[in-house]
């Protein structure tokens, strides 16, 4: 009896109605006859043609459809028995699935929140922020989110396409209620009367159209109204700011947290304008506040930007490379896409969202792989069950529904636990991400539906996979347990294990490299000593003018070692650019970042002089002519042996320019103003005087012991000088650390994920060895009888898995090193890529994998061979 070719046989099967086995028999008999009489190719050809002729039968013969409903109870019963029988495997599956699902839920909430920023404004798609690209004297242009006070009058009337335009100055200040109660208001806005035309925030009280029309009006949100007066019925009440009275003319709904700025009290700019320094009101290239516009239909960003440039050329006579270039940013894109200087708050970033999304998917895939691997492995023990059912006449569908029932039960339990876990973990997650997320799967439709989809996916799809392996085997084979022997080498399973461990290894390697780099940066010598230094902002020009007094008073505090001041916060990049000539005959000026400092600045900061000396009161000329350069500036200006050389420069008070012909009196060793993401900037220092900008930051070096007491003393000094202004301060080492906040967060998140991934991998491996060991009980028994030692047996059982982990290493390393090379470009100073990390991860993961395998290997190899060989 010869058989037709496989493909024809398959085609024939596909065309024959299932309920007519005799039909196929006829075909095969005919095939056999033809083969004998006319040869194979004739028989094949005829068979193909005949098969075509029975296709209509498929539609004529009515198949008996089997309804699975009556089996449901049986399925459940068997599922319960099976799940309870393999308790360990059920637990591993549920733990793996639920933990990874909980993580996915948290990430989904995070992403949802990130994407929801500024989406809540009515008609918000027509709102844009104007940002500018300015030439501030440096080699590079500066792109800032802020604009000048003058941009509104410039374009308001003469540029088309605008429905409303408003300036907004997000600030913080002290508000006085009833003459005695004071509140430090952090979400204060100075804005034009058109603010609520641009941002359509619903009003609870008062008239939106006229609320900010008069200079003595003010608008608050409900929360603030209740904070001030205990009620939201506050129209007509007064609020004092810097001694001036404002009358509340409106109460609005508080803005949700997913807004890129904060706003709880809005003062009209017309009412506070007198407090702005002159340069804010007159400097056309200044960056002092934000400008938002609401546009009409058919707004063209390019057309608008061109029109603004044209206005600048026409009205301010400013053209070419020096002129500011303004551009617009859609309101809804600001939070995720804009990362300019002077942003109103800490923005998110698209890459973070992508990284999170990818991680969530990867973690979910890892859990699913575990699930599929374990379920498939477990199903090999069920060959007999499936075989007997088949013999008793159950159809493929019935068998599938059995496996799916089990999957659904596991998935339902896992989803339930995941929801509980997510709810428990939310406070911790909020702390980590700096958000205020809440989670209720019944109210939150997106996540709720997502979980439902997962449930169906896991239940239906993952449940089918083991069934396919089983159902493809012949009944006889299954009953003889041949399946187990055949399945030892499952390429799919090996592939999945390799994939899983590659991901774990990549994640762990990345985490270790990030850790290494961050500690490298932390340990790197900044050139100055940030420990035990308090930074105090001199909040207003009045306070800054009393600098000498504050310095003297503070120096008197016993635990204070030194006090100095600077125009620039020492932990931030220097932003002031001034023009210099090293030789009066030189034609072109050189722009260099510059900052004013007080006497004792270098001493207080513990910076080292490389050459010459620091500023000193003993040299009266220092005040108006002395310059100190850092080493980078010396290189930048191209000076050789600079001490004593002339340097012609300029200074700017904020409103007036001065020429400053002086000498270089010293060179200070390079130290880091900003983070180590950037190279040390060339900086020129001069003493603060009437001809320079004033100092705006105090640096106080204190004794490291008893900080609270010292701070208390400093606060007293401050209160004497600054009056009601609250005392604000930060520690310099914390300000330095803040530069690496993003990396810290990254690190925390990735540590969590890599621990989780290796945990999932380990759990999976643990489960798989359990089954492998069970399946090979007899083999192990025979080996023991033949005299194998426990060590040999462990080797036999673990070698298969450990080989896979080794392969995973080889895949994981290059991926990790690629990503980390990319990431390192964020830093100007890199730690060398540590080789030990790769090898360490490799060995570490191998050890973990080995430990997971060890337990069951030991257990099996210790079983008496009598027991394992006795059965059957």
């Amino acid at each position: 009896m010869s058989k037709p070719p496989k493909i024809l046989d398959w085609f024939l099967d596909a065309c024959c109605p299932d309920s007519r086995p005799d039909l196929k028999g006829n075909f095969l008999e005919l095939y056999d006859d033809r083969l004998r009489e006319r040869g194979r190719s004739f028989a094949n050809r005829k068979l193909l043609r005949d098969t075509f002729s029975i296709i209509p039968l498929k539609f004529i013969v009515k198949e008996e459809r089997h309804t699975p409903v009556p089996m449901f109870k049986t399925n459940l019963k068997i599922a319960r028995r099976i799940l309870l029988k393999n308790r360990m495997y059920t637990a591993i599956n549920i733990i793996g699935l639920s933990v990874s699902l909980a993580i996915c839920v948290l990430i989904a909430l995070f992403i949802q929140d990130e994407l929801s920023f500024d989406q809540h404004f009515q008609d918000g798609d027509k709102v844009y922020r104007i940002a500018g690209n300015y030439s501030q004297g440096g080699a590079d242009r500066v792109t800032s989110a802020q604009t000048t006070y003058l941009i509104k009058p410039l374009i308001e009337k003469d540029v088309d396409g605008l429905e409303a335009i408003t300036r907004a100055d997000f600030t913080a200040d002290l508000v006085t209620i009833n003459g005695d109660k004071q509140y430090q208001e952090r979400a204060m806005v100075f804005a034009d009367s058109t603010f609520f035309d641009v941002f359509r925030i619903p009003f609870l009280k008062g008239d939106v159209a006229t609320a900010l029309d008069r200079p003595e009006n003010v608008v608050v949100d409900r929360t603030t109204a209740i904070k001030y007066f205990g009620t939201d019925d506050v129209l007509g009440k007064t609020v004092a700011l810097r001694g001036k009275q404002f009358m509340i003319t409106g109460v609005f709904e508080p803005l949700p947290g997913n807004t890129h700025f904060q706003c709880s009290i809005v003062f009209p700019i017309s009412g506070i304008k007198q407090w702005y320094p002159d340069w804010v009101l007159t400097n056309a290239s200044g960056t002092s506040l934000y400008t938002y516009i609401r546009t009409k239909e058919n707004f063209s960003a390019a057309g608008f930007e061109a029109a603004v440039s044209k206005q600048i050329a026409a009205r301010w006579g400013w053209e070419g490379s020096g002129a500011p270039k303004y551009f617009v940013q859609p309101l809804t894109s600001i939070h995720l896409e804009s990362n300019l200087q002077g942003e109103a708050g800490v923005n998110g970033s698209k890459s973070t969202v992508y990284i999170f999304a990818v991680t969530a998917i990867v973690i979910f895939i890892l859990a699913c792989i575990n699930y599929i691997n374990l379920t498939t492995a477990a199903s090999f023990q069920r060959g007999k069950e499936v075989g007997i059912k088949k013999v008793l006449g159950s159809t493929t569908r019935m068998q599938l529904s059995q496996f799916q029932t089990e999957s659904f039960i596991v998935a339902t339990i896992a989803v339930t636990i995941a929801v509980i876990l997510a709810r428990l973990a939310i406070p911790v997650f909020n702390e980590l991400s700096g958000k205020t997320l809440g989670f209720n799967p019944f109210i939150d439709p997106l996540v709720g539906i997502g979980l439902l989809v997962v449930l169906i996916l896991v239940g239906a799809v993952a449940g089918i996979s083991p069934a396919f392996v089983l159902l493809r085997t012949t009944t006889i084979g299954m009953l003889y347990d041949k399946l187990a022997l055949r399945s030892i080498k499952s390429y799919l399973r090996s592939g999945l294990i390799v994939f899983q461990f590659s991901i774990s290894i990549t994640l762990i390697t990345c985490t270790l490299i990030v850790m290494d780099q961050i500690s490298f940066i932390r340990k790197r010598d900044l050139g100055i000593d940030p420990e035990s230094v308090v930074l105090i902002p001199l909040q207003t020009p009045e306070i800054a003018s009393k600098l000498e007094l504050i310095k003297t008073e503070m120096t008197r505090v016993p635990s204070v070692l030194g006090v100095s001041a600077s125009g620039n916060k020492v932990t931030e990049r220097v932003g002031g650019w001034r023009q210099y000539k090293t030789d009066p005959a030189q034609k072109d000026v050189i722009n260099c970042a510059s900052t004013a400092v007080s006497y004792d600045f270098f001493e207080t900061m513990k910076a080292t002089m490389a050459d010459g000396r620091a500023f000193s009161k003993e040299y009266s000329t220092d005040l108006l002519t002395g310059y100190v350069l850092n080493e980078s500036a010396v290189k930048f200006l191209g000076m050789e042996d600079p001490v004593g050389k002339n340097l012609q420069g300029t200074t700017f008070t904020g409103s007036e320019w001065f020429r400053r012909d002086g000498q270089v009196i010293g060179v200070v060793k390079d130290f880091h103003f900003a983070s180590l993401h950037d190279k040390v900037q060339p900086v020129i220092f001069y003493l603060a005087s009437a001809q320079t900008e004033s100092c705006s930051w105090l640096e106080v070096r204190i004794l490291s012991g008893d900080m609270p007491k010292t701070i208390e003393s400093l606060k007293k000094v401050w209160a004497n000088v600054a009056g009601s202004r609250p005392f604000e301060f930060e520690f310099m080492d914390e300000a330095v650390a803040a530069h690496y906040q993003a990396e810290d967060r990254f690190l925390k998140v990735f540590t969590t994920f890599s621990v989780l991934s290796i945990m999932l991998g380990g759990l999976g491996l643990f489960g798989l060895t359990a089954f492998a060991a069970k399946r090979r009980t007899k083999e192990i028994g025979i080996r023991r009888v033949m005299g194998a030692s426990t060590a040999t047996l462990i080797k036999v059982l673990s070698a298969d898995f450990l080989k896979l982990v080794l392969v995973a290493n080889i895949i994981g390393w290059p991926i990790a090193s690629y990503f980390m090379n990319q990431w390192m470009t964020n830093f100007a100073y890199h730690a060398p890529m540590p080789v030990w990390v790769f090898i360490g991860t490799g060995i570490g993961v191998l050890v973990i994998a080995f430990l997971c395998v060890l337990y069951h290997s030991l257990k099996v190899s210790r079983t008496s061979p009598v027991r394992s060989l006795r059965s059957e």
Partner: protein
């Protein structure tokens, strides 16, 4: 419509062949018998469609035989003509004879003397 009760020409032949073959009337045997005896080609599709249709109409009855090692382990399905089927065959035959009888003398020149 009328085909519900009346037999088609091919159906008639199939049923008659089943009668001829007696106890050994299964799919392939029927096909081969028609092909050799009547010298016409019968496709597998047409034959089986016909068989299953007739069974549905109640003119045929079938019974699965024993599975053997030949035919790929598949059983044979043996057909017999039911009483209804026999009546239908008879009626078909009678209808035709009636019509033959009714043909007037001399119309069928080739067969001048029917009946």
């Amino acid at each position: 419509m009328s085909s519900r009760n009346n037999l088609g020409e091919f159906e008639e032949i199939v049923m008659l062949t089943i009668g001829v073959l007696g106890e050994n009337a299964y799919g392939l045997a029927i096909k081969e018998h028609i092909e050799s005896r009547l010298n016409r080609v019968v496709s597998m599709g047409a034959l089986h469609t016909g068989l299953y249709r007739l069974e549905e109409k109640g003119y045929l009855k079938s019974k699965l035989g024993k599975a053997t090692n030949v035919r790929g382990g598949k059983p044979k399905r043996f057909f017999i003509v039911t009483n209804g089927g026999q009546k239908a065959l008879k009626k078909a035959m009678e209808d035709r004879q009636q019509l033959w009888k009714d043909i007037p003398e001399g119309v069928f020149k080739l067969f001048p003397s029917q009946s």
